[in-house]
């Protein structure tokens, strides 16, 4: 009984955090772009005259979505038209189930693992559900019975499938190094030290993998410079025929994806919830200093570290989105199949070689 | 890691071929857009290297890779057959491909990868390896059949072969699954042991499993009633590919069948014999009767190859050593006759691709006496006229069947051979007796001519020394684990 309650609480906490983070992201996106373009940005939404640097904007956005007409194209397929945004939104949310946001929280005799599901196939779970997002795009494009949406859907299908290959293969090197697909164990392994001082983060062990994973992940989130399925200035994209809450789901899914990608990058390449040299008992610096900390403080510090990392990568993604121009379709495809893919295979090869040499 | 379990000698020949596929692709990539000659030479070199490796490692492999493959004499014997066919179609191919403007370097890599698959079919001692070999071979063949995308019949052949072939593969996989369900293993040694020990060999899932395995393999052999694809596919495919397809995959399918069914043949019992009996009789008769009335030489040869599958089934049915060795000898001679005949067919084709009329052969005996003589050798060999290799192949297989007590079936086979005389001889009659129809001269293509000559030589040579070749075949069969 208690276990069920704990799990429910964890699910509730994660969902709530994820949704509110994504909501804040809509504000971050507006604000950051405004700063980059020397504007003031979203600062008009107010409640009783309070504006709080535009933080009410997400609420205003949400209300607008609620009250807009929910239009379904009459010639399209109604069921699939409804299903598509759900298929775009749901998988992104579910992937968070296997991401650890802390080690173990001890309350008295109770040991609570700060992760919803510690799966043996954690990484594959993420890839499996990540693959489902493409259905949202393709079906949205198809069910709208509109040429623009169709073009967007076609582009999306080709792009997502192509970059999924790179995305999956870039993680193989990581799996080889850590010897597990379990995200929890991967994060634990990242708190070891290399050469006595450097934390064994993925970025240090697999720098090339990170450089390949990050662009591929951005391509999977369909944001500039990979926003060809949408490409608002040419074809408006796969959700041309969407409005109201259904459009809102697509819109929101994009921000959830930003958070998921940030969490994944932090977990896989930047030590997850770990702070360098912080262990269960407290800090132990490589030059000999130690600083003991109570358990609760360690847990909170780590949770905070995880959030800081997520925030950093979310910021970075927004920065990239507002800096780069869009690829042409052939450039995007060439980059994937002729640029990233050979490098990914090379990474696996070199990693294997080094591991083999290290073993002997 | 214990590397002794991975004895590379056992898979040396397919290994060379696999490396060769990559090499040929690389050479083709580097040799520019218009020049396919380097790729062809590289492919020929790879085949020769593989043949050298095959001879050097003859019967030295033994079982390896956790019982997945056996590099025994049986595998080596078949590898040599496959490599000979590959060499011939690679040597003869360019002229045909140039003529039809489909000379792409992929032709060579596909032939090589297909031969690699065959090598695993012959060497596999595990159903899984045999299945994967068969699929590798088939996939390359599906593409080769559609190698001329400009011609509709080629596309049709490719699609037909793909659809029916995948269906047959489905049967094979399902059969493997059922066998696994019954004995908990896909290992052929376990399979034989189970059948030998079982009171009723077809109890449980085994009956359905074995039946489905048989269907999967007989499809690739083009045995009646699973032969419907073969005339259309051989007819529609580019003719160099037909030459390859009618020879090597059939040999590979029989190799796989022998691997699977030779050892437990005794224990399979009466139902098995009845099914094979009917299949063999049907195949011979339907193949020969259908071949009688074909105006296209390609279709005629296709039906003739169906008939030959029927004769070959006698060897499997006999289940004794002579039967198995006879199949090996039969196939060794059959592939040369078929490759030769198909190659001559496209050499003399003067009406354009897609129209392979027997009338093309008119006057060949006077205009190109050597070519006509060689075609006659192939036709006589396919009939089974005594001094030629075809005769001894039939003799051994039929003798084995008589020894095993299938006298009536052999009578049917001999009657069928008599029927086949009609359509094989018709080609010769046209070559030497029909009046000139004012056809263009046949092109003189040295490389292709050399390939045909090599085929004819082999047909004669195997007929001159049948005993020693049979001894090698017997040793090969005996070397199976």
């Amino acid at each position: 009984m208690l276990e069920t309650i704990i799990i429910l609480v964890k699910v509730w906490a994660v969902l709530l955090t994820l949704v509110s983070l994504a909501a804040i992201m809509t504000w971050v996106e507006r604000k950051e772009s405004a700063i980059m373009q020397d504007r003031l940005g979203a600062n008009r939404a107010d409640i009783l005259g309070f504006r709080v640097i535009g933080l009410f904007q997400p609420m205003a956005d949400g209300l607008k979505m609620f009250f807009k007409e929910d239009f379904v194209p009459p010639q399209g397929n109604k069921i699939l038209h409804t299903l598509a945004p759900v298929l775009a939104f749901f998988p992104a949310m579910v992937t968070f189930a296997v991401i650890p946001f802390g080690n173990v929280l001890n309350i008295g005799d109770l040991a609570i693992k700060l992760q919803i599901a510690d799966l043996n196939i954690g990484l594959l779970f993420i890839l499996a559900f990540g693959g489902f997002t493409s259905y949202g795009v393709v079906l949205a494009g198809w069910s709208s019975n509109s040429k623009y949406a169709m073009l967007g859907g076609l582009r999306g299908a080709a792009q997502l499938i192509s970059y999924e290959v790179v995305l999956g293969l870039s993680l193989v090197g990581l799996v080889m190094v850590y010897g597990t697909l379990q995200l929890d164990r991967m994060v634990l392994a990242q708190n070891e030290l290399l050469f006595g001082f450097l934390p064994a983060w993925g970025i240090f062990l697999q720098p090339l993998a990170f450089l390949l994973f990050f662009p591929a992940a951005i391509a999977e989130s369909k944001r500039i410079p990979f926003d060809l399925p949408e490409a608002e200035s040419e074809i408006v994209g796969y959700y041309t025929e969407y409005s109201g809450l259904r459009f809102g789901l697509f819109y929101f899914a994009e921000f959830v994806e930003i958070i998921v990608i940030s969490a994944l990058v932090s977990t896989l390449f930047f030590g997850g919830y770990h702070i360098p040299w912080l262990y269960e008992e407290g800090f132990a610096f490589p030059w000999g200093w130690t600083w003991e900390l109570p358990h609760l403080v360690v847990v909170i510090l780590r949770l905070a570290a995880f959030f800081v990392k997520i925030a950093f990568f979310a910021w970075l993604q927004v920065l990239i989105r507002w800096t780069l121009p869009r690829f042409r379709f052939d450039q995007m495809m060439r980059l994937c199949w002729k640029g990233l893919l050979p490098l990914v295979v090379l990474n696996i090869l070199v990693t294997g070689l080094i591991l083999l040499l290290a073993q002997n | 890691m214990d590397l002794s379990r991975f004895n590379l000698i056992t898979i040396a020949t397919p290994l060379v071929l696999g490396a060769g596929v990559l090499l040929v692709m690389l050479v083709d990539l580097l040799s520019g857009r218009a020049n396919r000659r380097p790729a062809q030479l590289a492919a020929l070199a790879v085949v020769l290297a593989a043949a050298a490796v095959c001879l050097a490692t003859w019967n030295t492999g033994g079982v390896s890779f956790f019982g997945q493959v056996s590099g025994d004499g049986f595998a080596s014997f078949f590898n040599l057959i496959f490599l000979a066919v590959a060499f011939l179609v690679i040597l003869a191919g360019p002229a045909y491909l140039e003529r039809n403007a489909i000379h792409f370097g992929e032709y060579y890599s596909l032939v090589l990868v297909s031969v690699m698959g065959m090598a695993f079919m012959a060497a596999g001692t595990n159903l899984l390896v045999i299945f994967l070999g068969l699929e590798t071979m088939s996939l390359a063949l599906y593409v080769l059949a559609g190698f001329n995308p400009a011609r509709q019949s080629s596309n049709e052949a490719s699609l037909k072969y793909l659809l029916l072939g995948s269906f047959a593969t489905g049967f094979l996989v399902f059969g493997i699954a059922l066998v696994y369900g019954q004995i908990g293993s896909t290992d052929l040694a376990r399979f034989s042991a189970y059948l030998a020990g079982a009171g009723d060999p077809f109890a449980g899932y085994m009956g359905a499993g074995v039946a489905l395995l048989l269907i999967g393999l007989t499809f690739k052999m083009a045995v009646v009633p699973f032969h419907f694809w073969s005339p259309d596919v051989y007819d529609g495919a580019p003719t160099v590919v037909s030459a390859f397809m009618s020879a090597a995959p059939k040999a590979a399918a029989f190799a796989a069948a022998l691997r699977i069914f030779y050892a437990p043949a005794e224990s399979l019992g009466l139902p098995w014999e009845r099914i094979l009996w009917i299949l063999a009789a049907l195949t011979m008769t339907v193949g020969n009767l259908s071949a009688l009335n074909q105006a296209s030489i390609k279709r005629m040869l296709a039906y003739s190859s169906v008939a030959h599958a029927g004769y070959l089934l006698l060897g499997i049915l006999a289940g004794n050593e002579l039967g198995a060795a006879g199949i090996l000898f039969y196939l060794a001679s059959y592939v040369f006759m078929n490759v030769g005949a198909f190659t001559v067919a496209w050499m003399v084709n003067r009406r354009g691709e897609g129209r392979y009329d027997l009338g093309d052969f008119a006057q060949l005996g006077f205009r190109r006496p050597l070519l006509a003589a060689m075609m006659s050798v192939f036709m006589l060999g396919l009939i089974g006229i005594p001094p030629l290799a075809g005769f001894f192949g039939k003799l051994y297989v039929f003798t084995a069947a008589v020894q095993a007590g299938y006298v009536w079936l052999v009578v049917i086979a001999v009657l069928n051979s008599a029927v086949s005389v009609f359509y094989y001889l018709r080609v010769m009659v046209i070559m030497y007796m029909r009046e000139n129809e004012a056809l263009k001269d046949v092109d003189r293509i040295p490389a292709t001519f050399a390939a045909v000559a090599a085929c004819a030589l082999m047909v004669i040579l195997l007929g001159l020394i049948p005993g020693s070749v049979l001894d090698v075949a017997r040793a090969a069969v005996a070397s199976m684990p």
Binding site: I121, A157, E164 | V69, L110
Partner: protein, 165 residues
């Protein structure tokens, strides 16, 4: 609990499998096929084969079926026209019925134990580690042959999609 989930998945997968062939719209067929594959993946999880389940979802549901959809969208197939039952459909039904009877007879002939204990005897049977180990030891050779099978497929795709001169 286990039986409930099994029945649920079995019913859904059979239902969606039927819908694959009964649907008039090819896109709907593909989506039902995806549902079937996901259900089968879930059954794999229940058989403690999580790795196979994940691969099934990633490869089939995530990649191959999306490509199916992609091709269907490119072809822009209209709904199949309704008409009298064609000869193929009748043949199909007959063959399916025969297969069903044969399968039923097979299952009757071999009494399946309620619990063979197979999974308990070999713990970790379907885990990533176990699958990986057997793939790279006992089944190394088939694994490598499969890579050449795929190579043949790639060459084939290049050839068949080549622009006509």
């Amino acid at each position: 609990m286990e039986a409930f989930f099994f029945l649920l998945l079995a019913v859904v997968s059979i239902f969606s499998g039927l819908m694959v062939i009964l649907q008039k719209s090819p896109v709907a067929s593909v989506l039902f096929l995806v549902l079937t594959l996901v259900c089968v993946a879930a059954l794999f999880v229940m058989l403690s084969a999580p790795f196979i389940a994940a691969i099934q979802v990633i490869i089939y549901a995530g990649a191959i079926m999306v490509l199916f959809l992609f091709v269907l969208m490119l072809l822009n197939l209209q709904r199949f026209t309704e008409g009298a039952w064609s000869r193929f459909q009748i043949t199909g039904v007959v063959v399916a019925a025969v297969l069903a009877v044969v399968t039923a007879l097979l299952l009757r002939a071999v009494p399946l134990p309620a619990d063979s204990g197979f999974l308990r005897e070999t713990p970790g049977l379907g885990s990533v580690e176990a699958v990986g180990l057997s793939l790279f030891t006992e089944y190394l050779l088939p694994f490598e042959i499969a890579s050449f099978l795929l190579l043949a497929g790639i060459i084939g795709a290049v050839i068949l999609s080549r622009r006509r001169p």
